[in-house]
């Protein structure tokens, strides 16, 4: 797997590169800002990019802008956005145009276990990755007539994993249950929440997140 890393902080960038290299990922380019990142992507055509959300010049949302640009210009390149913020708005902004091959995770999460490598692999395989913290927050929001309350404990667990972007296979592996059971749970959840079930796992991330964020 070939990757380009973009982060304006040299310390973090080198650390990420070291983590990736030790995980067997071939880091073909490093960038400190969005423009360099785009140039690297054009030249190296990597499988994935790891992009910090805040980069020069304004240090606000350059990473998101760059991620959207890469996804529309190079559909074969997945993008994993790293953020200091737990913002569902940013996650939704990233996945609402094309949910495939995009991920949004908290920066410090990459240092525990194999989260970075796992997330990268999923993004490279055109899956969607949403940070569990965001999903947890959204699930615990206070809402009027909350249909989420009508879900069983297991169903809520499945819903969270759906929102994190996992496929049915991924969910079944995580929960040690069969694919068929996961399918049944998902169908049940979508019915209870009043959502149209989309067979495609990426699209259902968007509809679940949108539902969870609605007031």
């Amino acid at each position: 797997m070939r990757a380009v890393v973009a982060d304006d902080s040299l310390l973090t960038r080198e650390g990420v590169v070291a983590l990736l290299t030790s995980g067997g990922v071939d880091v073909v380019g490093q960038a400190g800002d969005a423009t360099t990142l785009m140039n690297h992507v054009r030249v190296y055509r990597p499988d994935v990019c790891v992009v910090d959300i805040r980069m020069p010049p304004t240090h606000t949302d350059e990473g998101i802008v760059a991620a959207t640009a890469i996804r529309s210009e190079f559909p074969d390149t997945g993008v994993l956005v790293l953020s200091h913020y737990i913002e569902s708005a940013y996650a939704l902004r990233l996945i609402q145009d094309q949910p495939e091959g995009i991920g949004y995770i908290l920066k410090e999460r990459i240092f525990s276990g194999d989260v970075l490598i796992d997330s990268l692999r999923r993004v490279a395989e055109a899956e969607t990755v949403v940070d569990p913290t965001i999903v947890a927050r959204l699930l615990h929001r206070r809402r009027t007539d909350d249909p989420v309350q009508a879900l069983s404990e297991r169903e809520r667990e499945v819903l969270a994993l759906v929102a994190e972007g996992l496929t049915n296979q991924g969910i079944s592996r995580r929960l040690f249950i069969t694919d068929r059971t996961v399918e049944a749970h998902v169908r049940q959840i979508f019915t209870k929440l009043g959502l149209d079930e989309s067979p495609e796992s990426n699209r259902r991330v968007l509809s679940v997140l949108t539902f969870l964020r609605s007031p």
Binding site: T12, G15, H59, D61, H84, R93, R137, R142
Partner: protein
Amino acid sequence: MGAAVGLGARRRAASIHAVQIVRCAAALAVVAGLAWLTMRMVAASHGFSESGDSTLSEVALHGTVALLASVGVIHRLARPANRYGWLLVLIAVFLLVTEWAIPGATAAGSLSAAAFSVGLLLAVAVPVATTWAVLAFPSGRVERLRDRYLLAAGALVFVGALGLVPALFFDPQAQGCLDCPINLMLFRGDPELAAALSRTAMGAALVWATVTMLELLLGLARMSPASRRARGAVWSIGVLYLVAASAQLAVSLDRGFVGGLTMDKGLWWAQLAGLAALALAVAFSLLRSRAMRRSVTGLVVDLHREAAAGGMREALAAWLHDPSLLVAYPVDGAYRDVHLETVDVTPRPGRATSRLVNDGDEIAVLVHRPGLLDNPDAVREVVTAARLGLDNERLRAEGLAQVRALAGSRVRIIEAGDRERRRLERDLHDGAQQRLVGLLLGLRLLRTTSGENHAEVDDAEAEIQATVDDLRELANGLCPNVLLTEGFAVACAALSETMDVRVVDAPDRRFPAVVETTAYLLVAKAAAAGPTTVYAAFDGDALRVRADVAQAGVGLAGLEDRVNALGGHIEVLRVDNGKRVELELPLAAPAVSREVIAADRGPQ
């Protein structure tokens, strides 16, 4: 700029007022003396005089002289900087002199020859002096060069050709007037030549009078309405007078000399009436401007009482009969009206400007129809009458400008504070947070390379992770990044993910940064107090936010000042199970905010 005349000149005039009075008294005394002399001359030879054939005509002549002289003197005193009054006194003197070329001039005693000769010389000087008085009305100056040439030509024809040249060949004694005083100008007695020359001169005088009448009529037709209101009467009287004078010249053409017993008495009366009318018209113009000044001064008093901004424009527009008139005050190095709108004071076709100056200080500039204030008197009139009111409005405009500047600086201070919060958040993110993340990374790599598990390292990692979380909360509290990039509605939604906030409605659009921050601060402070429900709406002018907090006390310290500075309104109401905070923030007041957004987001 038009004429710049002000009260400074008027004050200086006040100090020489005494001299002015003495001069005017002297002028009146001279006219009275000459009138007395004229009466004696006429009494000595009734038959030869034009006024002497009846008491009525004599009274009329002297009455007209007195009228001209007194209106002239009054004008002189009322308008110290304007010499127009002297012209009327001159006409009065010339009118008396027309009576002197008679045998009765002997009544002047030792001066009889001189008086008789002056009478011959200036026998028909009145029409030229009258034309002068018409063309110079009301400023006292003849501005146009061709009018000056016209007057010079008139003087040459009426005094030179018609007065002096025939007199050179007129020997009164040889003509049979043995009682007459000597003609001091006599060169050679030749009655035939004198009559021929006189006839030629009369022809020239008729041509001149016709040209002048045409000139006046043309001027009347071309005058702007404002000018016509000011000068129309005097010019019309001038035309009528010249018609009578020309008619007299025409009927005298056969005789070879003007005046005398056989002349048409009706024309003489007509000319006298014309001159009296001229004096009355000038007197009326003085009275009218005085009345107008009074009415504007009265308005100034009213304005002071009612304190209505913009009243001076209305008053001056009504006074000067120009509804489109604009009053501009010098405020902050620009010309502005009472509402601080910039006024274009560059003169252009169809619009003239006049500076109103008081003691060298510009108090206002009027933008008006051309021809309205093209003489210094009119400008001075406005300054005298409206100075208080104009000063009042100018000070009001300056005060308003200061208040606006102050309001602007309050908003800028708040915006600077917001910028500082964002900068702090950024520094925290790019500094401490990055370093801690780097540290976490180092520990992770250490663990990977050593391949062993240490409980101490795990504790350190957990500690650092907690610190990173704390810092994130702190930075988010300073200024959430999502507020900056996504706006108020999204920032509120984000708040609802971590706190007990329910956003029922929020406009999904961007507002000026300072407005978004203020509205967000309200929601954040309410959420900090207790479970909060937020309703926000935008009505095109203002963002309205209602936050219902299920808690008795809501701390909104600092928010009131912020809202006031932005020209908004905040109110805390007690509701059934807690407090309701209502916030209204206009978008118009902080005009600088759009630039702030651009500056914060930087070039993209």
